[in-house]
């Protein structure tokens, strides 16, 4: 907190004193934002240069583990020609940073990167002009190295960015400055150490729960035992007896506050409450029939050729229904917020992926003016789509207003599992056929309850029909999902690709063709074919129809513009049904790679996290009650399960940098299902592929 404050003071003082980077008044920013949020055009919104030549880089994205702090700093440093360690990132603060739409969808580099590069390139061009005037030479005779502008051939005639800024009181803008071409990059594309590393290995990195303004009370809220269960009676007298406890009760909100979070939690346990029972009657077994019954009619997304014509040419039909369980985001850091009021102005620190969205929600929920709300986002302990919303921040703000003190709300792990916006359970029916020549004759993919993303096959099928109903995005009939659902790392795509890439594999087996060869035969996308071949080479793939007994699996996908393919080797214990993944090879073409080491980390994260939904993770529930409430029963991947992971990033300078936080995870369900099938000949249709389900499939 103090760091940011100091940073603000230093940088704005600099800007004011030095004048070049005049910080424009907040009020002006506000109007700009209110009318139609978009990225500001003025590079001053993103960059400030101090007299010591340090570059302050202000972005509305948040660092939640994905490495955007480093990747974005690299882009700014590259365009400005300053060393990476001279860039100070300030992220996710709605007072200091320009508007941003939220950190998700792996968009930070792909969508925001060009904006930041453009700003930095323009700033550099202005600085170069100023240097030319100062040194009395034309800009073409200048070069920039490490933030120092020097005359070509006369290196002792030079001026540093810091000095340039200090000497001028002008604000200047240039039109149409082009960022560097890929071949001019000196920093981008090389491994860079993460900027947040030292803070994270020393415990100095601040997360929201570490923000403790003087006088903070920790609030624990009473939650119903089941979704849809309304509070009927409450007796807080026993809790009130705990010294130092404050109880706030307003409508359905009952909160117990104390200066120590553990004492507040303990006191909440003394609140006696009764609830009406939940109207929900589904559980994790009956949910699939329930979804099919309650979902709206399927909506056609793609209709190509004629399914009837394709069916007429079919020799072998293959139909299957794929099921996918609800899974939790389960970030290691639970949802947390701190709210502090100061003379009618509200400051909220929150673990949120979307500080500007939260700001507008706070404005609405508390009836405030936009300029009276500031959201600050410290480091996030993981998000994965689960921290798009930040209801805990609205709770904290309301309670702080009632209590007249700063209030911190940190959800317990049980609350985290109860209030999470799960990845939806879903049903995917795939019908397809093979013609005489062993080619796919038609393809029909009907997805219910997950969403549309990546429901269209990556293959060039002549006759296809893709339909979808219901979504993670909401807009579903009430009661269809028994609790909130939302974006979970590559939303909908995990479910759709599990079904389509499993089905493709099953067709290859029916055709008695090697699954890699079968895929290549149906692909028209050369980039995707290339990643498949690259993965095959690294893996040491040799063609054989499945089941070969080797336990080898393959899957591929197009995730926006990124092409990704993976191969895996598994061992299946026929007796216990246990699946062990020995190794995974991923090849990915994500365009220009900003920080290769960072991108590899993201791929490894995708593979590891993906093994969870593939093998062990599933939210159990009954009648509105979430039965998994901690990591003892909700099993996320652990060290013993982690395979060796090899990542190959394909160099593709022709495509702008894409995000790497999502693509590989979409493969993991099908990849492991296909490898299991190759090992033992059993086809798993239901995620996660628990030992019980594996044994059942082996019996069938």
């Amino acid at each position: 907190m103090t760091n940011r404050r100091d940073f603000l003071q230093t940088t704005t003082a600099l800007a004011g004193a030095l004048g070049l980077f005049i910080s424009f008044p907040l009020a002006a920013q506000e109007t700009e934002k209110a009318s139609r949020p978009s990225y500001p055009k003025d590079f001053n919104a993103y960059l400030r240069i101090g007299p010591d030549g340090r570059v302050g880089c202000f972005v509305g994205k948040v660092e939640m583990g994905q490495g955007s702090m480093t990747a974005l700093a690299m882009l700014a440093a590259e365009e400005l020609d300053v060393p990476l360690d001279r860039v100070d990132m300030l992220m996710g603060d709605t007072d200091l940073c320009p508007w941003d739409g939220g950190t998700w969808g792996s968009l930070s580099v792909w969508q925001f990167g060009p904006v930041l590069r453009g700003a930095a390139a323009e700033a550099r061009a202005v600085l170069l002009q100023l240097a030319a005037e100062r040194l009395g030479v034309a800009t073409v005779r200048l070069q920039v190295k490490e933030g120092v502008v020097a005359v070509l051939g006369a290196p002792d005639r030079h001026v540093a960015y810091g000095d340039l800024v200090a000497g001028q009181r002008i604000e200047r803008h240039l039109q149409d400055v082009k960022p560097k071409a890929v071949k001019q990059f000196s920093l981008v594309g090389k491994d860079a150490a993460r900027k947040d590393g030292r803070a994270k290995v020393t415990g100095a990195a601040q997360y929201t729960a570490d923000i403790l303004p003087p006088g903070t009370l920790h609030a624990c809220l009473l939650r119903p035992p089941a979704h849809g269960a309304r509070l009927s009676t409450v007796d807080t007298s026993a809790a009130e007896l705990v010294p130092g406890v404050k109880v706030l009760h307003n409508g359905d909100t009952v909160a117990v506050l104390h200066a120590k979070p553990d004492v507040a939690r303990e006191a909440l346990g003394r609140v006696k409450a009764t609830f009406a029972s939940s109207p929900s009657t589904v559980d994790d077994a009956s949910i699939f029939a329930h979804l099919l019954k309650t979902a709206p009619p399927l909506k056609e997304l793609v209709a190509k050729g004629s399914i009837a014509a394709g069916e007429a040419a079919t020799e072998h039909r293959h139909e299957a229904t794929y099921l996918n369980a609800y899974v939790a985001h389960a970030p290691m850091e639970p949802h947390t917020a701190v709210a502090q009021w100061d003379k009618g102005r509200l400051t909220v620190w929150a673990s949120t992926q979307a500080p500007f969205l939260l700001k507008s929600q706070l404005v609405q929920a508390l009836g405030l003016k936009a300029q009276d709300v500031r959201v600050i986002t410290p480091f996030l302990g993981g998000g994965f789509g689960g921290k798009g919303g930040a209801p805990q921040a609205i709770e904290a703000a309301r309670l702080a207003r009632m209590a007249g003190t700063p209030v911190q709300v940190t959800w317990s792990r049980k609350e985290e599992f109860f209030l999470d916006t799960f990845r939806p359970a879903a049903v995917v029916k795939v019908h397809a056929g093979l013609d005489k020549a062993g080619r796919v004759s038609y393809w029909q993919h009907d997805v219910t309850a997950a969403g549309e993303a990546e429901s269209s096959p990556v293959y060039a099928f002549e006759h296809q029909r893709i339909r979808s109903s219901g979504s993670w995005m909401g807009g579903n009939p009430p009661g269809m999902h028994p609790f909130a659902v939302g974006a979970w790392r590559a939303p909908a795509a995990n479910t759709n690709v599990f079904a389509s890439e499993s089905h493709m594999d099953a067709l290859a087996a029916k055709a008695k063709v090697d699954p890699l060869a079968f895929r290549l035969k149906h692909l028209q996308n050369p980039r995707l074919a290339h990643v498949l071949q690259t993965a095959a080479k690294a893996f040491g793939w040799t063609p054989k129809p499945a089941p070969s007994g080797r336990g080898w699996g393959v899957a591929c996908a197009e995730h926006r513009e990124t092409m990704v393919a993976a191969m895996a080797e598994v061992v299946v214990d026929r007796k216990t049904g246990e699946v062990r993944v020995k190794r995974v090879v991923v090849a990915q073409d994500m365009g220009v790679v900003v920080n290769p080491d960072g991108a590899r980390q993201q791929v490894e994260g995708c593979v590891t996290m993906g093994l969870g939904y593939a093998l062990t993770e599933e939210v159990r529930f009954k009648n509105g009650q979430v039965l998994d409430d901690n990591f003892d029963t909700y099993r996320i991947p652990r060290f013993a399960q982690v395979p060796s992971i090899q990542t190959i990033l394909i160099d593709n300078p022709d495509l702008p940098a894409q995000g790497g936080g999502e693509p590989a995870i979409v493969l993991m369900g099908a990849l492991i299902a296909n490898a299991i099938h190759d090992a033992v000949g059993a086809r798993l249709l239901h995620l996660p592929m628990t030992p019980a389900r594996v044994k059942q499939a082996l019996k069938a």
């Binding site: 583990g65 994905q66 490495g67 150490a193 993460r194 947040d196 590393g197 030292r198 803070a199 994270k200 290995v201 020393t202 415990g203 100095a204 990195a205 601040q206 997360y207 729960a209 570490d210 403790l212 920790h218 200066a259 120590k260 979070p261 553990d262 004492v263 939690r265 389960a330 970030p331 290691m332 850091e333 639970p334 480091f379 996030l380 302990g381 993981g382 994965f384 940190t410 317990s412 792990r413 080491d597 960072g598 980390q601 490894e604 994260g605 995708c606 593979v607 590891t608 996290m609 901690n630 990591f631 003892d632 996320i636 991947p637 652990r638 060290f639 013993a640 982690v642 060796s644 992971i645």
Partner: protein, 157 residues
Amino acid sequence: MAMTISFTLNGRPVSTDADGGRMLAFVLRNDLGLTGTKVGCGEGFCGACTVLVDGEPVRSCSTPLSAVAGKKVLTIEGLELNGVLHPVQEAFLDHGAYQCGFCTPGMIMSTVALLQNTPRPDRRQVAESLDGNLCRCGAHVRILAAVEAAAAKGGAK
């Protein structure tokens, strides 16, 4: 009623009047201002809150303050000496063995304890001893590499 509990925290003596039944993690974080220790699950299932008590890793969210009376408690803040990182911290840094970093203090403390007891663990021993430390970001392969590197460099210190 209030009883003073004394122990050594990161090499320095401390005394607190906090209720001995309260869990150590919260006393560290909210009474003593050491917020490097993280609380991820509050019930002993995730390892984010791991600290060392007389050299042994414990889950501070489930260890009452009274249990550390007279003992030596080491937290993530106590590893760095005079601005020099502990070899395990150094190895985590070098190998990018963190993403969001929320599990990192607990991972590092568990590793420090492991290497003190087993200076050259094999991969199975590492996986076993870190099994109760969860990482949702999937930094596992990096963490394994970091632990091995720290061990190779004599990370027990």
